[in-house]
């Protein structure tokens, strides 16, 4: 969706503020917001694409006014309410008023290292051969889906070429909507900054794009 998360090429957000030596968290609530978000992800109630889509559905003015972990918090509250794991009233009160819903897994402390070490690989066996090979010329589709997509607005309808064939991966446009993995070939696609932004010079942009976003050029 053309939501507030789709930042590439926007203007007016001001300078970048570097922070050479960074504390991992800037306050204690950030620690807790981070941990409850990861731990709830481990319950198997949603996948990473569903959680990204929950964040990008935050209304733009609210999203841009929020700090990073506030965005996570708003996304988590939204997912809890949408899955019925906790009602809005329970979230507001911080107290349970109804029986808990069953979840697939509750990660205990001693399970965490193995869960993190395994991660969540997104590669899947391929049912088809890739349509493109390294060096092939492509054009990105001009598409504006209302749901989740990983084709940023600034790269729609652009000419490019295949840089890397990454393999066959879960398609977020499907998995974010609980429509299954629907694996497709994933490519690193190279664009010239002059084609994308009219910029002078030889600078380039590379983005990871699924085959469904591309057509032969």
């Amino acid at each position: 969706m053309n939501g507030p998360q789709d930042a590439g090429g926007m203007m007016g957000f001001g300078p970048v503020v570097p922070e050479p030596v960074t504390p991992v968290f800037h306050s204690d609530w950030e620690r807790r917001a981070f941990a409850i978000t990861l731990a709830m992800g481990m319950t198997g109630s949603w996948n990473i694409d569903i959680s990204r889509h929950a964040r990008e559905r935050i209304p733009p003015a609210e999203y841009w006014a929020a700090s990073y972990y506030e965005i996570w918090l708003k996304g988590l509250e939204r997912l809890l309410a949408e899955t019925g794991l906790a009602s809005a009233a329970e979230i507001a009160a911080g107290r349970s008023k109804t029986a808990a819903r069953p979840v697939t897994r509750v990660a205990a402390a001693d399970m965490i290292p193995a869960i993190l070490a395994r991660g969540g690989p997104s590669d899947r066996p391929a049912a088809t051969a890739p349509q493109f090979a390294a060096g092939d010329k492509i054009r990105t589709r001009n598409m504006n889906p209302g749901g989740h997509t990983r084709l940023p607005r600034y790269l729609r309808g652009c000419p490019g070429s295949i840089a890397i064939v990454h393999g066959c991966h879960v398609l977020p446009d499907s998995s974010a909507h609980r429509r299954g993995d629907d694996p497709h070939w994933l490519y690193a696609v190279r664009f010239s900054a002059s084609d994308v932004f009219g910029a002078p010079g030889r600078d380039e942009i590379v983005a990871d794009l699924w085959e469904t976003y591309l057509e032969a050029a």
Partner: protein
């Protein structure tokens, strides 16, 4: 509570901010419902505050600078090469190493969210997740680099990698001059976090 006892201003003892209260209430609710184990939350925080951070990536880079076979392996299969040093898993399941050269400077962004190679760099800094960086890195990378104090030679092209999928990118900065004969351990001390994102260069020897 296990997470109390340090000196931030929104901790127990001081007035909690509205967002801190909201997080506290939500955590209580999730624990009461039995969805999360409080001890697991502490392990998650401790892991990313103390065990996993940019020192991991610095060891990968220093090894690549000192071991041509390893550098070659990183180019061919970064996931396997990095796993061999012991860094793998969540948000680093599919790794690609980008070698900076005099001709090409690589720089990484996630315009859509905050994708970042956790096993080698830890959690991303605030600026990486912020709208200014996410909006501008792809469109005016040289202006962004200037804000980090980096000016590239005219002849060096910038290649910005937008992490739009589950592949995670680690920049291998150029090895600084004047470090001939240095050990991998000494070299790792020159590898900054920003140099592995591509918004900085490796430090020069003092």
């Amino acid at each position: 509570m296990p997470h109390d006892g340090h000196d931030h201003d929104d901790d127990a003892g001081a007035a909690l901010s509205p967002v801190a209260l909201r997080v506290k209430a939500l955590e209580s609710l999730l624990v009461e419902k039995g969805y999360v184990d409080p001890a697991a939350l502490d392990v998650l925080i401790e892991t990313y505050e103390t065990l996993i951070g940019p020192r991991n990536g610095a060891r990968v880079v220093a090894r690549a600078w000192t071991d041509p076979d390893f550098a070659d392996w990183l180019r061919r299969d970064a996931t396997a090469a990095i796993t061999s040093i012991g860094y793998a898993g969540r948000q680093g399941e599919h790794m690609v190493a980008l070698f900076n050269t005099p001709e090409t400077h690589n720089m990484v962004v996630c315009t859509l969210c905050s994708c970042y190679p956790w096993p080698v760099l830890g959690l991303p800094p605030v600026w990486y997740k912020s709208m200014p960086y996410r909006s501008r890195a792809v469109m005016e990378p040289r202006a962004v680099l200037a804000e980090f104090g980096v000016t590239l030679p005219e002849g060096t092209a910038v290649r910005v990698w937008d992490s739009t999928a589950e592949v995670r990118y680690l920049v291998i900065p150029q090895r600084p001059g004047g470090t001939e004969g240095w050990s991998a351990e000494q070299l790792a001390g020159l590898v900054t976090r920003d140099s592995m994102i591509g918004t900085g260069l490796a430090s020069s020897p003092a």
